[in-house]
C-alpha cells in the first residue's frame, strides 16, 4: 500500500495541495517564482507533484523535473523552502511522521534534477 492510499488517496492530496500552495505563496524565499504564472495550472502541477511524492499514480520522470525547473536557476535554499512548506502542510493535516519521512525521501530523490545538478559521471 502506497502512502497515497494510506493517507486517504485523492481527497487527501486535494486538501494537502491547497495548504501547501498557500504556504509557498506566502514564503518570501520563493513566492516571487509564482508572481506571473497561471495559478490554476500551477495548482494542477503541484497536485501532480504531490501525487508522485505520495507514491500515487503518476508518470513523473527525473527528466521532466529537470526540464521543468532548468530555467529557474534554483538553489539549495529554494529547495529547502519548498520542502519545509511541504512538511508544514503535512503536519497541519496530521499526516504521521513516518509517512512524512517517506514523502521527503521521494522529494530528496529528485533534488539533483530540480536543482539541475549535472548527473554524476
Amino acid at each position: 500500500m502506497s502512502i497515497f492510499e494510506k493517507i486517504g488517496g485523492e481527497a487527501a492530496v486535494n486538501a494537502a495541495v491547497d495548504v501547501f500552495y498557500r504556504n509557498v505563496l506566502m514564503d518570501e524565499r520563493i513566492s516571487h517564482f509564482f508572481d506571473s504564472i497561471d495559478m490554476a495550472s500551477q495548482h494542477q502541477k503541484q497536485k501532480a507533484f504531490m501525487t508522485m511524492a505520495f507514491g500515487g499514480p503518476n508518470h513523473y520522470t527525473g527528466a521532466d523535473m529537470r526540464k521543468a525547473h532548468a530555467h529557474m536557476k534554483l538553489t539549495e535554499e529554494h529547495f529547502t523552502a519548498v520542502a519545509e512548506n511541504l512538511i508544514a502542510a503535512l503536519k497541519e493535516l496530521n499526516v504521521a511522521q513516518e509517512h512524512i519521512d517517506e514523502i521527503i525521501a521521494v522529494c530528496l530523490s529528485v533534488k539533483d534534477d530540480v536543482l539541475n545538478v549535472p548527473p554524476a559521471a
Binding site: E10, N14, R22, M39, K47, T51, P57
Partner: protein
Amino acid sequence: MTAIVFAGQSYALADGESVLDALLRAGHAIPHGCRAGVCQACLLQSDEAPPANTQRGLSSAQKSLNYFLSCQCQPPASLSAQAVDQAGQRVSGVVREKSWLNQRVLRLRIEAPLDFKAGQYVTLWQSAQLARSYSLAGSPNPQNLLELHIRHYPDGAFSAWAAEQLKVGDALDIQGPLGQCVYSAPANQALLLIGMGTGLAPLCGIVQDALAQGHSAPIQLIAAARNGADLYYLDELSALAAQHPQLGITWLAQHANQATPPAVAIGDVYTHVKTHFASLKGYQVYLCGAASFVAKMRKQCFLSGAGMADILVDSFVPFATTKT
C-alpha cells in the same frame, strides 16, 4: 462495441484501450501528459454524462459540463466527445434589442438557438476576420435571447462597430457557448461573487441560476467599477435582493463622481474584500472581469482560505492588439 465519436466520426476502441489512445491512433492531436488522470491535459467534453471514474479530480463546474479525462476513459457504450471549448457550434443570431446601460456599456439582446449555462461566454463574429468574446448575462430563457454587455471603446474595432453600425434586425454569427464559470455549488455553501465593470454580466446569470435552483446559503454579490457612473443594473439587482433575503449586494466604486448613485460605496475592491471577508474558508467564489483584476483577486481569495477548486473565474482577455 465500445466506440468514441469524435469530430463526426466513430472509432472503435480496442480491448483495454482508452479514448485518448484510440484518438491518437486515429491521428487526432489530443494534448496529453501523465496518462494517469492527474495532469488533466487530455480533457475532452461530451454531450452526455461520461463514466464517473473519468471525472475524478475535476471541479464540480467541469463535471456539470460533462468534461472527462480521456486517458482514463474506456466507456461501456459508444460515447461522443469533442475538444474542450470547441463545443461551440456556430449559429446565426438576430439582434432584437440594443440599448445603453450607462454611458459606456451597450446591451445587446440577440435571438439565437444556443444551449448555454449562465456564466458562459460566446464569440461574436462581425465578419470572417473580426470576432470578439463576450460573457452571457442572464439565464437561458424561452425567447432564446442572449444578453451581452459590451463595453464601448470609441477606437475598438468591434465595440465601435456594434455601437455605431449594428442595428436591430441585423444578423450575425455566434459561436459557443464556451467557458466553465458556472453555478455548481451545493445549496448550503456560501457564495461570494465579485465583478469588475462588465464582469457583472455573467454574475447576474450565475446569481439568477443559483436562486432558481434554490440556493439557501448567503449569496454576496459585489459589483465594482472604477467610477460610480460605470455601475449599472442597480435597480434591477436591488429588486432581486428584496425578493431573496439570502442575496446581498454591494456597489463599490474606486472614485466618486457627480453621477455616482447614493447606494454606491467608495473604496478599493481588494481592501473591501479583505476587510469584510477576512476568511473565505468554505466559500465558493466567482470572479469576473479584466484578466489583471481576476489574477490579483484570485490570489487574494486563495490566501484568505478559499479552496482552489472553489474559485471560478471568467477572465476578460484583450484580443490581439486592438482592445474592444
